[in-house]
């Protein structure tokens, strides 16, 4: 294989949807999520162990919800990796939001023991109303 071909292979894959992902050589960790909808809100829970509130970013904009964080564990200088299930240190995941449904002003996020819980309140007009039935 010529060096030209090699460099063609070395190009970042087209999956580099996020601009800073291409620059970063490390793999991006996609946190597993649970998503549930109740009458008045959509709840997202994401496993992001090793992320502290300082490095956590929950952003809403452009019809998108972005969850981002950095995995930080205390490591001594002279450590060598024996085995790793989890590679990379940057968590990122994006979701498309239905702007008509979600009130962007009423989004709450909470991080506890490595689990991020985001609650997206629905607009009044999109909540489920239960209509009492009278006899």
């Amino acid at each position: 294989m010529t060096s030209q071909q090699l460099s063609a292979h070395a190009k970042p894959l087209p999956t580099a949807k996020y601009p800073d992902q291409a620059a970063r050589r490390e793999p991006v960790i996609l946190p597993p999520v649970d998503i549930r909808e109740t009458d008045d809100a959509i709840l997202i829970e994401a496993d992001m162990p090793g992320v502290s509130t300082d490095s956590l970013k929950v952003e809403v904009g452009d019809n998108r919800l972005t969850l981002e964080g950095t995995l930080a564990v205390d490591l001594p200088e002279a450590v060598s990796l024996v085995d790793a299930d989890l590679r990379g240190s940057h968590y990122q995941r994006q979701f498309t939001l239905g702007q008509q449904t979600i009130d962007p002003e009423k989004i709450r996020a909470e991080l506890k023991d490595g689990v991020l819980r985001v609650s997206l309140q629905k607009r009044e007009s999109h909540r489920t109303r239960r209509i009492p039935i009278s006899n």
């Binding site: 649970d34 998503i35 109740t38 992001m48 162990p49 490591l75 001594p76 450590v79 790793a84």
Partner: protein
């Protein structure tokens, strides 16, 4: 040395050497779960584990987000370290579930300890959903620098 509980599998996979192009792919696929000597149980999805080593100790990072400390146990016995516990994910009535990717239920992972580790000296610490186990090596087995003096 790490005692390799999975070594019987290695002979079973010998025939892969005939396959040529497939071999490296298969080996890399199986490498993590079978031939790495440290691991006693195949990789499971939860909790993920990273292991690091320095001259003085091993560090095992157990990624167990959302696991209550009372639901997690770390036991050392007969040269094995067992990490077990359970994680219950919330369920609300009248909720529509769109995605359920997070692990829920009971888990157990076992690793074999190398002889160099002092089982009495193992400590654990939890932070942000990561449990770090510190496994100091026995003093006698730590590398020593021998000074060479000019005669």
């Amino acid at each position: 040395m790490w005692f390799d509980l999975m070594s019987p599998f290695e002979t079973d996979f010998q025939f892969f050497s005939e396959i040529g192009p497939f071999r490296s792919a298969l080996e890399s696929w199986f490498a993590d779960s079978f031939s790495r000597d440290l691991r006693a149980s195949p990789a499971s999805r939860f909790p993920l584990i990273n292991i690091g080593e320095t001259e003085q100790e091993f560090r095992i990072h157990v990624f167990a987000p959302g696991v209550d400390q009372k639901d997690l146990s770390v036991e050392v016995k007969d040269g094995l370290i067992t990490i077990a516990g359970k994680r219950a994910t919330k369920t609300e009535k009248e909720a529509t579930v769109y995605r359920q990717e997070r692990f829920s239920g009971e888990f157990l992972r076992t690793l074999s300890l190398p002889d160099s580790v002092d089982p009495e000296a193992i400590t654990a610490q939890a932070k942000n959903g990561v449990v770090t186990l510190f496994l100091p090596k026995k003093a006698a087995l730590q590398p020593r620098r021998v000074e060479v003096r000019a005669a």
